[in-house]
Amino acid sequence: MAHKSKSPYLKYPEKEPFPILNKHSHYDHLFEEMYELEEKGEILVFRITEEYRPKYVYTRTGRIKVIPTNKLWHHKSCGQCGNIPGYPASIFWFMNKFGLDYLNEPHQTSCTAWNYHGSGTSNPVALAAVWLRNMHQAWKTGYYPLIHCGTSFGSYKETREQLIFNKELREAVKPILKKLGRLTEDGRIVIPQEIVHYSEWVHAMRDEIAELYEKEGKAKGIDVSNVRVAIHNACHTWKMIADDYPYDPEVYNGQRPAASTAVIKKLGAQVVDYSTWYDCCGFGFRHILTEREFTRSFAIQRKLKVIAEEIKADVIITHDTGCTTTFEKNQWIGKAHGMYYPIAVMSDVMFSALACGAHPFKVVQLYWNCSNYEPLLEKMGITNWRELRKEWEDTVKYIAELEKQGKYDELMEFFKEYDLYEPYSKTSDGFKYRKSATSDLPLFKS
C-alpha cells in the first residue's frame, strides 16, 4: 500500500493483504496525531518494545496492529471474574503454560463502561480518567495492559480516539490525573501505543495454542475435529471503533473479524456459518438485568434458534463477557414457549484451554455455566468429566471445612499448592497496604 507515515505507530504492508473494506479510515489518522502529541511533549506513548515479544496482525483497514504477547498487565473484567471465572482462569492458564511473564494486581479498577452504556450515569471525562488511571498503573509496573473485557476494550478505543482528537477532553482530564498522581513526572498523560483485547492475544498466539493441543490435548484423547462451532463476535470488540480489530485473509478473505474464528480453525474444529452471524446477542447492558424479556427473546429467536436450526452447532464460541452470559443463561427459559435449543456456550480461550487439556472445572470452571456443555465435553473426548467434577466439588468441601474450623494457615498452605497464581506474591508493590475495598474474606483481611 502506498501510504507512508512518519509516525512509528502507523504501518501498512507493501501489498494489500485482502480486499480492504475501509480505505479512508479517519481512525488510523489517530496514530499520526498521537505521534505529534508525543513530539510536542503532551503525552507519553507506552510503546510495545521487543521485551513484550510483539506479534503482528492486520485490521480491516490493512493497518498492521502490534500485539504484545509477553510481560502483560492483566486488565480483568468484572463480569468475567464475577460470573464466568473460568474465562480469566483460562487466560492465566495459557500464560503459565507458555511460561509468560504477567501481573495480576488488585490495583486495577473496572472500566465502568458497562454501567455507562446501561445507565448513562457517567461522562467522557470520568471514563477517560478511569482508563488513564489504569494505564498509568500498568506503565508504572512496566507490564503492558491486556484488556480482558470487550466493553472495556471498545470503550477504551473510543475514549482514546476522543482524547487524541479533542484538546478540551485532554485539558479536562489532566488536572484530575495530576491530583491522583497519575501523570508522568514531567506532567504527561500516558497513552498505550495499542489497545489490546485478550482475543487479539489469542489470535496472535493461535499457532502456539494449536501446537499445545497437538502435544498435550491429543495425548489426553481430546479431539475437536468433529465439533461444529458457531462463532459470535462481540459488538463492542468489532462494531465499536470498527477500524481497530483483527481481520485476516484466512478468515472470510478479510471481510469479517478474524479473532476467535482463526484460532478455532487452527485447532481443526469446524467453523460453520449461519445467517445471523452479525447480530448482537441481546445483552443490552441494562436489558439483561431489567428488560429480561427483551434479552431472552432476542437471544433465543435471533441466535439460539437460528444456530440450532440452520447449522446444528455443538457450541457457540464468544469472545466477550456479556454475550457469553446472555447465551448460556437464556436457554432453559425457552422451555416455557417450546423454544428450547440447548447448546454449549463458552469463550474462544475457554474452548482452547479445554482442547489443550485444561481441567474443565478447576481451570475452565464450567461449574458456573448454565448451558448444556456436557454433550460437548463427551464429543471432545473429555469423557471423564463426571470424575473431574467430583474432584472439584470435593475441593470445595475441603475448603469450606477448613474455613469453618478457622484453619486459615492451613488454607493458605493449601492454596500455595493449588493456586496457579499466588495472591499478592507478585504484585507491583507486594500489596504493601494489604487492604481491599471490601475486605469480605477473613482469609485476606489485613
Binding site: C81, T109, P124, L180, N330, A437
Partner: protein, 250 residues
C-alpha cells in the same frame, strides 16, 4: 363544531406525552441544546439518506417501538418536542450494540447519540429516568463504591429464576466455591476480584471531580446516602492506614 386536537405521534404509534407538551418551550430547547453541545455530537451525526439500514439491523427495533433512523431524522429536523419526549423512555430501548454505527453509509452513530441523550436525561434527573433506573440500583451501588460493576454475590438465584436450575446451587457454599478458583480473580465474593483500597479511593476522587456523585444525588438521594456512607468509611480507613504507614516509617 367540537375543537379537534390532533396528538402528534412518532415511532409507529407513540403520542407525545401530555407532560412533554406542558414543559415550557425554552426548557425543552435548553435540554436539546445540552445534547447538541456535547463535543461528541458532531462526530456522531452527519447527513442521513433515510435509508433505514440502521433500523433494519437494530436489535432493539425488533422488539420495541424504537428506531435509530428516527432519532437521526428528528435531530436533522430539530424536532424539539419529539426529541424531548424520546429522552424520557424511548432512548432506553437501545441495546448499545453499535450495529447502526458500523453499518450506516454516512458513518452516523445513532447509538452514540442515544448515550449522549441518556447522559443528559440523567443529569437533568427526569422523573421517568429515575423510575427506569430504580431496579438498576444494585449495580450503581457496587460500581460507585468498589469500581466493579458485578460480583458473585449479586447473582442470587432468587433474582434470576429464569436462568434455570443450574443457577440454583451456585450460591450454596459460595465463599468456598469462589476460593476454589485457582487465581486471585475469584477469591472475593463482594467484588469481582480483590480491589485494593487505594484503587477504590482513586475512583472516589474521580467521581467527585467529574460530578458523578452530584449526578447521583439528584437521581436517587437514598441510594446516594448509602453510597456516601461506604465511601466515607473507606476514606477514613485509608487515612488511618496512611497514618499507620507514616508512623511505621518514622
Amino acid at each position: 363544531m367540537a375543537e379537534q386536537t390532533q396528538v402528534r405521534k412518532y415511532g409507529y404509534n407513540i403520542p407525545i406525552s401530555e407532560k412533554t407538551l406542558q414543559v415550557p418551550w425554552e426548557e425543552k430547547v435548553r435540554v436539546i441544546e445540552e445534547v447538541k453541545s456535547d463535543f461528541r455530537f458532531k462526530e456522531y451525526l452527519f447527513g442521513c439518506l433515510n435509508c433505514g439500514v440502521c433500523t433494519a439491523s437494530c436489535p432493539s427495533n425488533r422488539f420495541f417501538d424504537y428506531s435509530p433512523r428516527e432519532i437521526v431524522q428528528r435531530f436533522l429536523e430539530n424536532d424539539i418536542d419529539v426529541l424531548y419526549d424520546m429522552m424520557h423512555e424511548y432512548i432506553w430501548a437501545c441495546s448499545q450494540c453499535f450495529t447502526c454505527w458500523i453499518r450506516c453509509p454516512f458513518v452516523n452513530n445513532p447509538g452514540g447519540l442515544v448515550i449522549i441523550m441518556r447522559e443528559v436525561a440523567v443529569r437533568n434527573a427526569f422523573e421517568a429516568t429515575k423510575d427506569l433506573l430504580k431496579p438498576y440500583g444494585r449495580v450503581l451501588l457496587k460500581v460507585m463504591t468498589t469500581g466493579n460493576q458485578l460480583s458473585a454475590d449479586m447473582l442470587q438465584p432468587d433474582f434470576f429464576p429464569d436462568w434455570g436450575p443450574k443457577m440454583l446451587d451456585n450460591m450454596e457454599n459460595l465463599r468456598a466455591k469462589r476460593m476454589a478458583i485457582p487465581f486471585d480473580v475469584g477469591k472475593s465474593v463482594k467484588t469481582a476480584w480483590e480491589v485494593s483500597l487505594q484503587t477504590a479511593i482513586e475512583m472516589y476522587q474521580i467521581w467527585r471531580e467529574t460530578g458523578i456523585f452530584e449526578m447521583l444525588e439528584r437521581l436517587d438521594p437514598n441510594l446516594y446516602n448509602v453510597i456516601m456512607d461506604i465511601v466515607e468509611e473507606n476514606e477514613e480507613r485509608w487515612e488511618e492506614l496512611m497514618e499507620e504507614m507514616e508512623e511505621a516509617e518514622a
